[in-house]
């Protein structure tokens, strides 16, 4: 039996996600962590991207989108991105 403090799915975090996650505010980071926990416990699921990227899904967290993939027993965090409409 799985202890209650362990995830149902292992969470894999690549470099890309780390780089996008690092500059977020503490408040946003906490909201993202909570959403990842829900994903890892199998409580929520996102909408699939298109074409050959249908294996990736997105979940909204305010103005951010968490992009992740699902493999058997694994959640792979692809990236976290804000809606980008600012001037650059």
């Amino acid at each position: 039996m799985t202890p209650s403090n362990e995830f149902k799915h292992k969470v894999e975090i690549p470099k890309r996600f780390m780089r996008s996650f690092k500059p977020l505010s503490e408040e946003t980071k906490q909201r993202v962590r909570e959403k990842i926990q829900e994903l890892a416990m199998g409580h929520i699921t996102g909408k699939s991207l298109e074409g050959k990227y249908k294996n990736l899904k997105r979940i909204r967290i305010g103005i951010y989108r968490l992009i992740y993939g699902e493999k058997p027993c694994v959640i792979y965090l692809y990236d976290i991105k804000p809606i980008e409409t600012a001037y650059i």
Partner: protein
């Protein structure tokens, strides 16, 4: 799914806000485009839920596709971020005037349009190669992308002619539905252009909430 999906290369998707800008600017090209699309726009104004069906009819029309190709050339030469924002502000203001909330969907459309414009200006060859690959690998999804873009174009232009709050609400509801899908295409294309094997390598794993607090 229409017979168009069987084509190796689906029709080119229009840029909704660019079309809106051209419509407001009343250039000769856009007057021709508007004249041609008028029956479709009027139908969408009367029945916003039918925007997808009207878009499919237009995409089966070779003269419309020719016009789309002209619009793309016009966009490459004349459109700018400021022009996109101006058209965006105009339509957003119209919904706001009637107290209809469309902020989130409009942000999704603007994000898509800005991203597309920036990619075209930054590396046109890379952008078009990505889109062509997408169309070749997933023609049904690429066709759906063209339908969504065309339907949004019709809805945004129709919104300029809507006279009541109820009509604008109905248009806004359809726009919301389509932008849910558009957002997934934006993210798909962003991912497709940023594929990098090195960045995909797993750096950390977490099997509990405690381990998740590390990054």
């Amino acid at each position: 799914m229409s017979s168009q999906a069987a084509l190796a290369i689906p029709p080119p998707p229009p840029s909704p806000i660019q079309a809106l800008y051209g419509t407001l600017a009343k250039t000769r090209l856009y007057n021709t485009f508007l004249e041609y699309a008028r029956p479709y726009i009027e139908h969408v104004l009367n029945e916003p839920k039918a925007a997808g069906e009207e878009a499919q009819k237009l995409l089966n029309d070779t003269k419309f596709l020719y016009l789309l190709s002209m619009l793309s050339q016009d966009a490459a030469l004349t459109i700018s971020e400021d022009k996109l924002r101006k058209a965006y502000g105009c339509v957003r203001g119209r919904f706001k005037e009637f107290g209809v909330d469309i902020e989130d969907p409009m942000e999704i459309i603007l994000e898509h349009e800005l991203w597309r414009l920036r990619r075209i200006r930054k590396n046109f060859d890379k952008f078009t190669t990505m889109l062509l690959n997408f169309a070749a690998e997933s023609p049904e999804d690429a066709y759906r992308y063209a339908v969504i873009s065309t339907a949004l174009t019709l809805l945004l232009i129709a919104s300029l002619n809507a006279k009541t709050r109820e009509k604008l609400e109905s248009i806004a509801n359809k726009i919301k539905e389509l932008t849910d899908e558009l957002e997934l295409y934006t993210l798909t294309f962003m991912v497709a252009l940023k594929e990098n094997e090195e960045e995909n390598k797993v750096a950390i794993t977490a099997e509990s909430p405690e381990e998740l607090r590390k990054p």
